[in-house]
Subunit: 139 residues, 2 copies
Amino acid sequence: MQAKVILVNGMQFVGEASSGHAIVMDGDTEFGGADSGIRPSELLLVGLGGCSGMDVISILRKKRQDVRDFEIMIDGNKSDSHPKKFTDITLKYIVRGKNISEEAVKRAVELSMEKYCSVKATIEGVAKINFSYEIEQQD
Amino acid sequence: MQAKVILVNGMQFVGEASSGHAIVMDGDTEFGGADSGIRPSELLLVGLGGCSGMDVISILRKKRQDVRDFEIMIDGNKSDSHPKKFTDITLKYIVRGKNISEEAVKRAVELSMEKYCSVKATIEGVAKINFSYEIEQQD
């Protein structure tokens, strides 16, 4: 898997990955950036959520769960001193749908966190990862 | 630092971070996705490059280096078995400009890798990170 990042201007970089998709990154205005794009370290949280989200929704679909809305809230704490690595990250999975099985959600989340999610497995050497889930049943 | 990811359709998720910027993620068509956005695990490579790129260009500007183009090529290897974590990642910094000091580039890259880059510090517990640099002098 490959990527390249190219400086455009100021602190603005475009990152392009081997899938062919590109994103804009930029720094905060406090630190010389122009806030024209996402922060590089935010990509760890977004990537963790996307990686696990794809696992969980795949498993819930295989289990024939009628999921109508699905989101994950991610909260990361970083150390105060350089290099300000993430020390702990919490994911909260929110599943909305009809007759959602709590057992299915619990199992899907555990399978992602313990077996499938490559982003989680890459960052958990340093950051402690916690997770919880919430189910909202709909008619 | 916070983020949320929301399922849109199929395997397409939109991730939004606390800076207010959003990106689209999607899976490969081989794995039930529609390839409409970047892969979540690619965000680790792009985030690593962006994080270190901002460090290095800041330091080179402080050292009054006349950098005209700057990019980083990133190459990551993942393990074959689940959870397919990154085992090693290589960054190659390419600096183009006039009278670029090799010592300045070497020092800037080392400072980023050893002291400042939060993404590197978060993933190096699991993935071995290697780096090199190349300078192209211009008239």
